[in-house]
């Protein structure tokens, strides 16, 4: 479409109007982030009075000082890293070999095993039985429980299995001639050839781990173990509801609003850092995993 000439006046109008509308939508997406960033760097009084519109008013980093001096912030940040890295590695350790086995036609009962995986995408027992099961397994309030309990996901297995199936047989034949076993074929042939698909699955895991809060909130009572998102929720929901507390927290330098905004900025930064990869692989992932035969 790009090298098409614009003939009529109507076309020009259309293109300009279109750009303006997209521009407005884009700004409406960007604005809340800018607003939060400005809020986090504004003086508490000004933020509380609703004077922050676009840029920081009464610039100060007091809110950040406040956030960074809170031990719970640091421990939850550390926990999020543990859950994200541990959980992603755990997921890959299950999913890569599992998807590989399911991609092999000689596997007995292959249709059945695939159904066992796919069925979990259509039907799940729901919150309560999952929760009771975790409790019965003794996985409440446990790092290991959070890491293992969400390791496998039917969609990711199927996505990777489809990718493995698309790799031509000829690639593995040379390795087999050299006497490679299945583990070696997987590790030396399939994994290197599937880097984009594995990266996609890994990033799906990273984002869902980094952002996940519901089950962490339900399964972890011990404050020492909660991840950043649960801590953030505590601050946002509990503190902003409590007007009395909000007033005691209010000083000239910072307020509930600026402190909340500062935590939001701190927790969004890692996502922004890996965002170029996310954008690239996620678009691939939803196209790979979306509609297929």
């Amino acid at each position: 479409m790009t090298n098409m000439n614009l003939y009529s006046r109507g076309d020009k109008m259309f293109v300009i109007l279109n750009m303006v509308l997209i521009g407005l939508f884009t700004l409406s997406t960007l604005y809340p982030f800018i607003y939060i960033a400005s809020l986090s760097m504004s003086a508490g009084m000004e933020a509380r009075a609703g004077n922050v519109i676009l840029t920081p008013v009464g610039f100060t980093l007091e809110a950040y000082k406040q956030v960074l001096s809170e031990p719970l912030f640091w421990s939850s940040y550390k926990n999020t890293f543990i859950y994200t890295i541990g959980g992603t590695l755990m997921s890959l350790a299950f999913i890569i070999p599992g998807a590989y086995a399911l991609s092999k036609p000689q596997l007995y009962g292959r249709r059945f095993w695939n159904l066992v995986v796919a069925f979990t995408m259509w039907f799940n027992a729901g919150l309560i039985p999952f929760f009771l099961n975790m409790r019965d397994l003794g996985l409440l309030d446990s790092y290991f429980g959070i890491i293992i309990g969400f390791a496998v996901n039917g969609f990711n297995i199927i996505l990777l299995r489809n990718f493995f199936e698309g790799i031509p047989k000829s690639f593995e034949e040379a390795a087999r001639m050299d006497g490679a076993n299945e583990f070696q074929v997987l590790w030396k042939v399939y994994v290197p050839l599937s880097k984009p698909a594995i990266a996609t699955v890994a990033l799906f895991c990273v984002v869902s781990r980094w952002n996940g809060f519901f089950w962490a909130m339900v399964l972890l009572q011990d404050e020492e173990k909660i991840p950043l998102q649960v801590y953030l929720r505590k601050v946002i929901v509990e503190l902003s509801d409590d007007e009395e507390f909000a007033t005691t927290l209010l000083t000239a330098a910072y307020s509930v609003e600026t402190v909340t905004a500062a935590i939001i900025v701190c927790s969004i930064i890692p996502i922004l850092l890996i965002y170029p990869f996310l954008q690239k692989y996620f678009s691939k992932g939803i196209l790979l995993g979306g509609v297929k035969e």
């Binding site: 479409m1 039907f123 027992a125 609003e257």
Partner: protein, 334 residues
């Protein structure tokens, strides 16, 4: 003895011979099968070693809870456990359907997913069509990079932004209302504002990212269609409606079917973050009801019954959606 008209004397095998043959065949086949399985396992055992962890995980973390679902039909007690609690039949379901809160949650679920469908479904299509009409690649890339971003941001952060922006004293929304000479509204405590804010937030967060699917479909439209349209003097507006949109119609239909299949999957995480007792009336959905009754209130059996009801309806919806899309597009969704 030979009343049978088909009796042909010695021409066919006797019963004894047939039985013998059958036994012989079975005897001969059995070691063969065993041997085949044995050989197969000897050759391919590694594949099974690779598969077992995943299957075990699914069994322990997803299939075992399905067995635990039986508490929906039991008077569950923590001390007796799932298996030993006494059966009570459909009592929990009767309780649920006589419970105003559950009925309200059911109604809210349907209304909120319906709003999400009506307002949320067309947005990404519109965005994709508009992105496609942008000639300046750098502008297009930048805009896309920005509108995909909220998809990667956690619901807690989005909720934090919403709560801050709609706050009565400090929020930007009320500041703007103030400029217009209106009194501040405490939006998040007003039942009539809950659904618009929730659905609007969902669209704001996901519409951009969801447009990717349609952009990919648009990229597959044959350029010759546009070339001949240009020869015929078609305007860009006409080409968008008469060529691009009809060409991606199959994708739109499949996405619509998927969407309807997943209708009950409201992001209840976001609702838990945004609602409060004042807005339960319009905001409480089945999953938040389950969370409150079960996990917070300890009524595990009743909440599990509500969950089972939800899961069965969702399952039927998804299966129907898959069957329909199979029939119309000859592609299955998975």
């Amino acid at each position: 003895m030979t009343n049978d008209p088909n009796f042909t004397g010695a021409a066919g095998p006797t019963t004894e011979e047939l039985v013998f043959d059958a036994k012989e065949a079975q005897r001969r086949r059995k070691p063969n099968t065993m041997q085949r399985v044995g050989d197969h396992l000897k050759r391919e055992w590694q594949l099974y070693v690779m598969l077992i962890p995943t299957i075990l995980w699914l069994a322990i973390f997803l299939y075992k809870p399905m067995y635990g679902l039986q508490i929906a039909f039991k008077d569950y007690s923590i001390f007796r456990g799932v298996a030993d609690s006494p059966w009570i039949g459909l009592e929990h379901f009767q309780t649920l359907f006589g419970n105003d809160q559950f009925i309200r949650a059911l109604r809210n679920t349907i209304i909120i997913s319906f709003y999400g469908l009506i307002f949320g479904f067309p947005m990404p299509i519109l965005l994709a069509l508009m992105f496609n009409e942008i000639l300046k690649q750098s502008f297009k890339k930048t805009a896309q990079t920005i509108v995909y971003l909220p998809h990667f941001v956690s619901s807690v952060i989005i909720a934090g932004i919403v709560i801050t922006a709609f706050s009565p004293s400090a929020g930007i929304v009320n500041t703007i209302l103030g400029w217009l000479g209106m009194d501040p509204i405490y939006f998040l405590t007003k039942p009539e504002w809950f659904r618009p804010i929730f659905v609007g937030t969902g669209i704001w967060q996901e519409a951009g990212f969801q447009s990717i699917v349609y952009l990919a479909a648009i990229a597959g439209v044959s350029p010759t269609l546009y070339e001949s349209a240009v020869v015929d003097g078609a305007s860009r507006w006409q080409m968008m409606w008469k060529i691009t949109l009809p060409s991606i119609l199959p994708t739109i239909i499949i996405m619509l079917i998927i969407r309807i299949g997943n209708m009950l999957e409201i992001s209840f995480e976001m609702i838990i973050l945004l609602y409060q007792p004042a807005t339960y009336e319009t905001g409480d959905v089945v999953n938040t009801f389950i969370y409150r009754q079960g996990i917070q209130g300890g009524q595990y059996d009743l909440a599990a019954a509500a969950g089972l009801f939800n899961a069965v309806v969702a399952f039927v919806l998804v299966m129907t959606a898959n069957a329909i899309s199979k029939r119309y597009s000859r592609t299955s969704l998975w």
